[in-house]
């Protein structure tokens, strides 16, 4: 019996290893400075509103933003890219993949990074929320296309960076909708229409870590309330649904979003 379970365990482990390996799209071609030994990086995502873990589709409005507006969450999808691990020796390691997280799909919460990283001390982690100008090209990502993740061309094209949706209680105590969708910012003024890239790239505060003799796991936690404050309090009554073509709303998300993530090593 013991042998049986052992065999099952080994089979399962191999199966898991194979399936993990299948997700690895790394075409590692920079063989300039091989550094050994190295460890794999697991990345997990968690989502909070204040101190509460987000639960989708609650019938009540359990979360509260900085203005005291109560809300629930019916959808949260977002995209981050250019995740970079900075070593104290000045060498940066950028993970190859982008991360498209949908909190209704647990399989999108955890990944094994495509790169092995060397042992040593890391000063921190940076990432780009959304895609930068180089990556935000119309239609080139199949998995995002089938998720209807494209950002409409009349407002700049490329891809959405986030869809955070739910219901809130408005100033008349009525139930209303919000759809915090983020992407390229369209500006219309006397000079005409221009499109401003709206991603941001930030170093996560206190994100240093040390890699020793084992693989590491990094847990990214998004506190969605940070979209709605610091430095500017967001009012759902002003920016509810329909904010995609709204330049000020798009820029405000960029302003407020820089502190949405914390990270810790598990």
């Amino acid at each position: 019996m013991k042998t049986f379970f052992k065999t099952m365990f080994i089979t399962a482990t191999i199966g898991l290893a194979v399936s993990l390996n299948a997700c690895d799209t790394d075409d590692d071609d920079d063989n300039t400075t091989p550094v050994f030994p190295s460890q794999s990086v697991g990345i997990n995502f968690m989502h909070l509103s204040g101190a509460d873990t987000i639960e989708l589709n609650t019938s009540n409005r359990p979360y509260t933003n900085a203005l005291g507006q109560q809300y629930n969450v019916t959808k949260l999808r977002y995209l981050i890219s250019n995740v970079t691990l900075h070593q104290v020796n000045g060498v940066d390691i950028e993970l190859d993949e982008y991360f498209f997280v949908d909190i209704s799909k647990p399989e999108t919460f955890s990944f094994t990074g495509s790169r092995m990283i060397p042992q040593g001390t890391y000063s921190g982690i940076s990432y780009t929320f959304g895609f930068d100008e180089n990556d935000n090209t119309d239609g080139i990502y199949t998995d995002l296309n089938v998720a209807n993740w494209n950002w409409p061309s009349p407002i700049g094209g490329g891809y959405h960076f986030m869809q955070l949706e739910g219901r809130y209680i408005d100033s008349n105590s009525a139930d209303q909708f919000f759809a915090t969708h983020m992407g390229t910012a369209r500006k219309i003024d006397s000079t005409g229409t221009t499109f401003e890239a709206n991603h941001f790239t930030v170093m996560i505060p206190n994100s240093g870590f040390v890699v020793g003799n084992s693989n590491i796991e990094l847990e990214f936690t998004m506190n969605i309330n940070e979209w709605y404050t610091n430095p500017v309090n967001w009012d759902f009554n002003v920016y509810g649904a329909g904010i995609m073509p709204n330049y000020n709303a798009q820029k405000l998300l960029n302003t407020n979003g820089k502190d949405i993530f914390t990270v810790r090593m598990k």
């Binding site: 019996m1 042998t3 049986f4 989708l56 589709n57 019938s59 019916t74 959808k75 119309d138 239609g139 199949t142 998995d143 296309n145 089938v146 998720a147 209807n148 494209n150 409409p152 061309s153 009349p154 407002i155 949706e165 739910g166 219901r167 408005d170 209303q176 909708f177 919000f178 759809a179 969708h181 759902f236 509810g240 649904a241 329909g242 995609m244 073509p245």
Partner: protein, 377 residues
């Protein structure tokens, strides 16, 4: 070690029993094998030709590992699709309500008629590009095409037949015995192989030659297979794509998603108190009123529209999205509110924009698909 082996055998036998129990009620039938079939060379693997635009821009194909496409399986599936003996009184086949000349839906009927002329309860869906889908029926009640095909045969408002009796009828036909022997060597003729064959045929129903496909394909360097969009239809797409006007894309995608759906389930606000929809399957209160977001492909042939076929024309559909959405409908999709902000639900398309949009929607129709001789008996 011997004990381990016997345990494993017990385990395997037990799991097989579970699988059998999970099957439909055709177990009493003695398996029929094709005695003289040269099974060594059968079945022949089939390579499905996909439209060039789809190769780079759509989801991976959904083909179950235990039912790969084969030449013989597809041919058999097509024959069974037009087989009236699947119904209780041998009067209707799958094709009776899923007509190839109408993009495999029951054109003009809100509810199709069952084997004894009784009306059904939900609109028959067109069968297009299902090889990309992973959940079937308006309410998501089937997780594969094989699973889906089990339902209408036995449904009291549809074909009303017992699977055991279908198996008896098909097994009695020596031509079928030969064909099953080639398509599924050493397997029985039963609900499993019949639905496998039907699913194989349905996976070949790929449509990718509409004026919109040709227009958007040309933008990425694909040679058009037919006409491209007209000026009017291009204006219509601009309405479709514009978050201030149509904002159709949150549910139906756009030029980079040639299936024109994201396969999600949503409540589009048809009624204040909507039908149960997905909640019938999930039992979750937050799924009440949610129905499958349908592909917009071949709309010219698929009226009436919506899960209950309440709209006869695309003009009515567009008008509904302009001013007919019920904003307080249970679990209505937040995506119904982008165009006007949270507090409104009406949009004001001009007459010109409305007719342009309808023209574009019709240009998602693939005339080659509805006349394809490969899809006929």
């Amino acid at each position: 070690m011997r004990r381990d082996t016997s345990l494993i055998i017990v385990f395997i036998v037990f799991s097989s029993m579970l699988t059998l129990v999970a099957c439909v009620d055709d177990d009493p039938i003695k398996p029929v094998h094709c005695e003289n079939c040269p099974s060594e060379n059968y079945p022949t693997p089939y390579s499905l030709k996909l439209p060039p635009l789809f190769a780079s821009q759509t989801a991976p194909l959904n083909i179950p590992a235990d039912n790969p496409l084969t030449v013989e399986g597809i041919a058999l599936g097509k024959k069974l699709f037009f087989e009236k003996r699947l119904s209780i009184n041998n009067t209707i086949s799958c094709a009776s309500c899923h007509q190839p000349e109408n993009s495999f839906n029951d054109r003009g009927k809100s509810f199709s008629l069952g084997a004894i002329g009784q009306p059904g309860h939900i609109n028959a869906m067109p069968l297009v590009n299902l090889i990309y889908a992973d959940r079937f029926n308006w309410d998501g009640s089937a997780n594969s095409l094989e699973e889906q095909a089990l339902i209408p045969v036995a449904h009291p408002l549809e074909m009303m037949e017992k699977w055991v009796d279908v198996a008896i009828k098909i097994q009695a036909d020596p031509v079928y015995v030969l064909e099953f022997g080639k398509a599924f060597p050493n397997e029985s003729i039963d609900s499993t192989t019949i639905t496998k064959a039907l699913a194989q045929f349905e996976r070949t129903l790929v449509s990718g030659n509409s004026p919109a496909d040709n227009y958007f394909g040309a933008e990425v360097g694909i040679v058009p297979q037919g006409r491209v969009l007209t000026v009017e239809e291009i204006r219509g797409f601009e309405v479709f794509d514009d978050p201030d006007r149509g904002d159709c894309g949150h549910c139906h995608g756009g030029q980079y998603n040639p299936n024109w759906t994201d396969y999600t389930f949503r409540n589009n606000g048809l009624d204040l108190n909507p039908d149960s929809g997905l909640a019938k399957v999930t039992k979750q209160p937050f799924d009440v009123g949610k129905f499958k977001v349908p592909s917009l492909r071949n709309l010219k042939y698929t009226a009436p529209y919506m899960h209950d076929g309440r709209f006869n024309t695309l003009e009515e559909v567009v008008q509904f999205y302009m001013d007919g959405v019920e904003p307080n409908s249970t679990n209505i999709s937040v995506d119904m509110f982008h165009r006007t902000g949270a507090n409104g639900h009406t949009i004001a398309l001009t007459l010109q924009e409305k007719s342009d949009l309808v023209a574009f929607l019709k240009a998602l129709t693939d005339e080659e698909f509805v006349t394809n001789p490969n899809f006929r008996p």
